[in-house]
């Protein structure tokens, strides 16, 4: 009986000692600076097969508009590194970490489903109106179509519409006019199938000018509706 226990215990100890390889692929310089350049090539001769399977992968996604993604990684054992730039990645297998530059194929393989579940970006748009009217000006009319079409295809969308006027007319009448402008956009959305409950309206009159002017000044930029879409 006793010897069986001993064997079991020593096996457990052995497992504990071997565990996963505690090799760290960071070179001494990298450890010192704590920075791994994302575009540095994967060290050649990296033939040490990790004893542990990969358990974690972090990847910077490709960015649009010239932006460069950056993530600071601080491992539990004190090691640190920086992932910087499209597809720069690190894998963790036991104590072993490996940095490399991935590609779109691997990104899709590992993260295709989760990326597809990301919601669309919220946005804000401004539409302009003809003087003393709740009719959109010609340019904004076209833009409104694009905005409406974008909003109608969004899931669980929330829309806030705020109406504004220029300083022509009395403050009181401008409150009413700004509300009519907001309602123009609201109607446009409802006509295209956006649910009423998702739309909130605020009427600011001439209290929040985009361009500061004297009273009774015609200013297209102030005759506007701001639409916030989330």
């Amino acid at each position: 009986m006793n010897s069986i226990y001993k064997i079991i215990i020593s096996l457990v100890l052995l497992l504990g000692i071997v565990g996963c390889a505690s090799v760290n692929t960071l070179s001494p310089e990298e450890r010192k600076s704590g920075i791994v350049l994302s575009y540095a090539e994967t060290p050649d001769g990296d033939k040490v097969t990790p004893l542990c399977p990969i358990t974690e992968t972090y990847m910077v996604m490709p960015e649009e508009g010239g932006k460069v993604g950056t993530v600071d990684v601080a491992f539990n054992n004190g090691d640190e590194l920086v992932l910087h730039g499209d597809y720069s990645s690190v894998t963790v297998a036991g104590e072993q970490t490996k940095t490399y530059v991935s590609d779109s194929a691997e990104m899709t393989e590992l993260f295709g489903t989760v990326l597809a579940a990301l919601p669309e970006a919220p946005f804000t748009a401004t539409l302009y109106f003809i003087s003393d009217s709740d009719v959109l000006d010609a340019t904004s009319k076209q833009e409104a179509e694009n905005i409406y079409n974008n909003i109608v295809q969004r899931q669980a969308v929330e829309v806030s519409i705020s109406g504004h006027t220029d300083t022509v007319g009395s403050e009181k009448s401008n409150i009413i006019l700004s509300k009519r402008r907001a309602n123009t956009v609201r109607r446009g959305l409802i006509q295209r199938g956006v649910s009423e409950e998702t739309i909130k309206i605020t009427a600011f009159g001439e209290s929040k000018l985009l361009v500061e002017t004297d009273d009774n000044t015609n200013e297209l930029k102030n005759r506007r509706v701001e639409i916030n879409v989330r």
Binding site: D72, N76, T113, P119
Partner: protein, 156 residues
């Protein structure tokens, strides 16, 4: 008399205690959903639904057929793939100054993050904890995969 006391206690519970259970404000909303993700709130599992709110300390759990995406108050976006567990540890965001902190921890599965106004103001203010590391996001989009080794072996 006794009934009055009971009523008072009930009123007290409803007025004082129940908001405390939800003292937290809504920090984000469900914007995409497939399958049947579950939100565990104060230990109670709730079926996630489109447009539904999330609070700090909510735990999000997806099965193999589920995925879910959130939009948070600072415009950061976050999604969870199948077989994932994520805890929304903390979220604070000042609408005016854009100061605050956002912390989540992923226990297993896949997570994608697009940082928002918090990170634009203070790089690194969005943190993702994994079993092996803490990731501080300076901007803007990245993904994490965590394999739950023990469980997979059991399942197989």
């Amino acid at each position: 008399m006794r009934r009055n006391v009971c009523n008072l206690i009930i009123v007290f519970l409803i007025v004082v205690i129940s908001p405390l259970a939800h003292a937290n404000e809504v920090i984000g909303k469900v914007k995409t959903l497939s399958g049947t993700p579950v939100i565990e709130r104060s230990g109670t599992p709730i079926a996630a639904k489109l447009g539904g709110p999330v609070y700090p300390q909510d735990k999000i759990i997806t099965d193999e057929h589920s995925a879910i995406g959130f939009l948070f108050n600072d415009d950061s976006r976050l999604s969870l793939g199948p077989l994932s567990t994520l805890l929304l540890e903390q979220f604070s965001f000042d609408e005016k100054s854009h100061d605050g902190n956002f912390g989540v921890s992923i226990q297993k599965g896949t997570l994608s993050v697009i940082s928002g106004k918090l990170t634009a103001k203070t790089p690194g203010s969005l943190k993702v904890r994994t079993p092996a590391a803490i990731l501080a996001v300076r901007g803007t989009e990245f993904s994490v995969k965590v394999d739950a080794l023990g469980e997979e072996e059991e399942e197989q």
